[in-house]
């Protein structure tokens, strides 16, 4: 059984197919700079490969707001699981946490995202499917 698993791992390592081909987040984002936004308002979603980008306006204490871009995963899996662009639309209020870009810009690697209906992406069971709507 152990050898079987090793074979699989070797295949993944050696294969031309980029099985888990997302880029190295650690090169972009800083583990020492966590961010969390409790009331981020979605302004635009770029449903692109290799990673979707969720643009949000984050309200600040002084009443102004700040624009942030949050990196998410490939949309293809979401789409095949029943999501459409309606699942995450401008105007929706979401909870996001993640790690900030090393250059201090308003970009972050999304770690957990909670949709208005309470569904959480990124963390949790792989049973998260399409939203109830």
């Amino acid at each position: 059984m152990g050898r079987y698993v090793m074979t699989l791992a070797l295949v993944i390592a050696a294969s031309a197919s980029p099985v888990r081909a997302h880029h190295a987040f650690a090169a972009e984002f800083d583990a020492k700079k966590p961010v969390k936004f409790d009331k981020a308002v979605v302004t635009k979603v770029e449903w692109t490969n290799p990673h979707s980008w969720i643009h949000v306006d984050v309200p600040l204490a002084n009443g102004t707001k700040e624009a942030w871009a949050i990196e998410a995963g490939t949309p293809n899996v979401l789409f095949r699981r029943g999501f459409t662009k309606d699942a995450l639309k401008p105007g929706m209020v979401i909870v996001i946490d993640g790690y900030r870009a090393k250059d201090g810009s308003h970009r972050a690697n999304g770690r957990n995202l909670t949709l208005p209906n309470g569904q959480t992406l990124f963390l949790g069971s792989s049973g998260t499917g399409a939203p109830a709507s």
């Binding site: 987040f25 650690a26 490939t74 899996v77 250059d103």
Partner: protein, 378 residues
């Protein structure tokens, strides 16, 4: 009619063969012009490893008992947390490089396979179901590249202990397609991160991450479209033609494909690959022959034979059976990757920023960080 008795046995034999042949192929649909119909949207939800586990020896098929055992093993592995676990060495990993690298969990890699093939491997030749050994030269160049990768990880959380290697200033010993622990320029980030797209042949993965292959066919050509991975899909037209291959000095990422029919099998012969190609270690000298056959209404057999005397000691052949997906409901998505590749830009920008911070004394030396493996899981 005088000759009839002499020819009768032959004619009956021919008649019988016709009946047998038409019975076999009647399961496989045909196009309106009479060719075997290879068309459809194809994917796989059945797990089948590329290479055979040694315990199966030279047996291409498992017994019922073995299948039950392997299936149980597969289900067990499916339950493992994998990327769902954010622990590092048994403790929560918040604030670690690994936590950043594992930002999204198993959900983003699609559903796990629940079916298991009775075949023991995709590789059917050589007899042991495993890819043949590398030639000595190939083994050497691959080992040299692995050593270069290891040198760049030396002294980081993802590599062997030691000081920062002076090789960090060296160029890659090959056309780099790996993810190396450096970001001096785009070439350091390797194929997938630069959105190179999958090469050929495609060994399809299972489920929603494995994606789909759409095949459209005419009397003139077979046009494949792969929608796989994170936008690593591509279009691939195989013309049915007698023209020769392009001159040897013309090197293409997915080679030069020429198609023809051999009975009911569509054969594509592909040469003229480039050093940006990498198929299990084979680069520009790869020679690929793909064979497509419509097995029955629900199954397309895709077989490939590869040879490269500068890489493997002999040729090898693997076969994958793809399952037909419903055309009315199955999504075939756009391949875009390069268009949305902020990630590559981000890696360069932020590495420059990290270098600047180090120069100014406000940040750690980027060379001491693992920006490649993500803590042991890419």
């Amino acid at each position: 009619m005088k000759s009839a008795p002499r020819f009768l046995p032959i004619a009956i034999l021919v008649g019988a063969v016709t009946i047998v042949v038409s019975a076999q192929t009647s399961k496989a649909p045909r196009t309106s012009w009479g060719a075997p119909d290879l068309q459809g949207i194809w994917n796989t939800n059945t797990f089948l490893p590329l290479e055979r586990a040694a315990k199966f020896g030279t047996r291409p098929t498992m017994t019922e008992e073995e299948h039950a055992q392997e299936l149980a093993g597969l289900q067990e592995r499916n339950k493992r947390p994998g990327r769902d676990s954010r622990d590092v060495a048994g403790k929560p990993g918040v604030g670690t490089e690994k936590d950043v690298a594992r930002a999204y969990n198993e959900f983003w890699f699609g559903d796990k396979p629940t079916k298991l093939s009775y075949s023991t491997s995709m590789v059917i030749d050589p007899a042991d179901g495993r890819i043949p050994a590398f030639t000595p030269d190939a083994a050497q160049r691959i080992a040299a590249k692995k050593e270069f990768l290891a040198a760049l990880l030396q002294g980081t959380s993802g590599g062997r202990p030691g000081s920062i290697s002076p090789r960090r200033g060296d160029p890659s010993p090959d056309y780099n397609l790996d993810r190396i622990n450096r970001a001096d320029g785009p070439e350091d980030r390797g194929g997938p991160e630069r959105c190179f797209g999958n090469g050929v042949p495609v060994v399809m993965g299972t489920g929603t991450f494995g994606g789909v292959m759409q095949l459209v066919q005419s009397t003139d050509s077979v046009s494949l479209y792969y929608d796989i991975g994170q936008g690593s899909g591509f279009a691939y037209v195989i013309p049915i033609t007698k023209r020769p291959h392009l001159p040897k000095n013309i090197q293409l990422y997915r080679g030069d494909a020429i198609g023809h029919w051999e009975g009911d099998t569509f054969v594509a012969d592909v040469t003229n690959f480039s050093d940006e190609t990498d198929f299990h270690g084979a680069r520009e000298n790869l020679h690929l022959v793909m064979r497509f056959k419509r097995v029955d209404a629900h199954t397309l057999s895709v077989q490939f034979t590869v040879d490269d005397p500068t890489t493997w000691t002999k040729s090898w052949t693997a076969v994958q059976e793809l399952e037909r997906a419903d055309e009315k409901t199955t999504l075939v998505l756009e391949p875009g990757c390069h268009e949305g590749n902020y990630g590559l830009m981000g890696m360069l920008i932020n590495t420059r920023a990290a270098e600047k911070a180090f120069r100014e004394g406000t940040g750690p030396n980027p060379a001491t960080q693992d920006n490649a493996t993500g803590g042991g899981d890419n």
